[in-house]
Amino acid sequence: MTNGGRTLLSADYKAPGGKLLRVRLRETGGRIESAKISGDFFLIPEDSLAKLEMMLEDVPLKEEELKLLVDRFFRGTSAQGLGVTPDDFVKAILAAKPGESGF
């Protein structure tokens, strides 16, 4: 869906053997304008998810950049996921990209 140069993207990504990540993005010119991640996963501390969503703002919707950012988030916050790995966050976000094999 396009709205004034912005594209709304979404994907539901089930981590193998794990939990569900539901990603809703606003994208402008190949960059994430804003990101909402929801799902039935575990992440402690719980308030770190909002930080990840904020860190994703203005990041190019590209695998390499996303990997670096998600790694930086987990290292910087000492956040611990259960039912989702850092790589699952990257895959879920990329699955929202047009043409990617999102569910």
């Binding site: 539901d12 990504y13 089930k14 794990g18 939990k19 569900l20 539901r22 909402k36 991640i37 929801s38 799902g39 039935d40 996963f41 575990f42 992440l43 402690i44 501390p45 719980e46 998810l49 611990q80 259960l82 039912g83 569910f103």
Partner: protein, 255 residues
């Protein structure tokens, strides 16, 4: 032998107050203002969302209106569950560093702190087993789900046990994403969950299950549960959490 406090405080028709108490206890335990605690409680028809879930995506609001189901968000992760009078909730709050769960490992917390419920269900004749990540299953069907956190200086674990819940309502009020159902190779919520009543093939009350789990907890962890009440400070924290968080649609619905 260690003694843990056993609390039965519940607000059957006020899921918001129930959730406020649920948070007030681990906060007090972590601050050393309350002893290690096990709480049992019930809700009337309620969807309890995990703290990371989107209400808009997970909840069928029309079905909620039709069935008089309330929506509340909890402070722990994991998936949405449906509570009614046939569902028994239990919560365990242990001061951080307790030898049962010494590490910052949530998977270990779920495994260890589900054991009391597993033993309790087995003592009633239900062939229950812990199924990672956070379920208790009987022959591949979920009978209980757990969630938890490590925060406020507390290791916290809570679970709900489908004793005699109305699975037809459960199937209506929750939108289960196709990707999740496909992954488990089953067609509907109702086909992948079961109740203690259905497993035993006879009427069983949440009281029977509670008694079994009290025993299960005492035997599994070599502790004694002693009936107690919330402190004034816990009740006042609960009231504050009710006013500022759990009675607010900004917390319950806006994720």
């Amino acid at each position: 032998m260690e003694t843990w406090r056993l609390v039965d405080l519940e607000y059957r028709d006020d899921p918001f107050m129930n959730m406020s108490v649920e948070e007030a206890i681990p906060r007090a335990v972590g601050e050393g203002k309350a002893p290690n605690t096990v709480r049992f409680w019930h809700n009337s028809n309620t969807i309890v969302l995990g703290c990371f879930q989107s209400a808009l995506l997970e909840v069928n609001f029309d079905a909620c209106k039709e069935t008089g189901t309330t929506v509340v968000r909890r402070f722990t992760g994991g998936g949405a569950v449906y509570h009614d009078a046939g569902n028994l909730n239990y919560a365990i709050s242990l001061r951080k560093g307790h030898p049962l769960v010494p590490d910052m490992d949530l998977q270990l917390v779920f495994q260890r702190l589900s054991q009391g419920a597993v033993e309790g269900l087995r003592s009633l004749g239900v062939n229950a087993e812990f199924q990672p990540i956070n379920d208790i299953q009987v022959e591949g069907k979920k009978v209980s789900g757990a969630a938890g956190s490590i925060r406020w200086g507390t290791v916290f674990h809570h679970g709900c046990i489908l004793v005699a819940s109305d699975l037809a309502i459960l199937g209506k009020v929750l939108n289960v994403p196709q990707v999740k159902l496909a992954d488990r190779h089953v067609a509907s919520v109702q086909k992948r969950v079961t109740t203690v009543r259905d497993e035993l093939g006879k009427n069983v009350t949440t009281r029977d299950v509670k008694d079994g789990i009290v025993q299960g907890i005492e035997n599994s962890y070599d502790v004694r549960l002693e009936k107690g009440t919330l402190t004034k400070s816990e009740l006042s924290t609960a009231k504050e959490l009710f006013d500022t968080k759990y009675s607010k649609s900004t917390w319950n619905l806006e994720k």
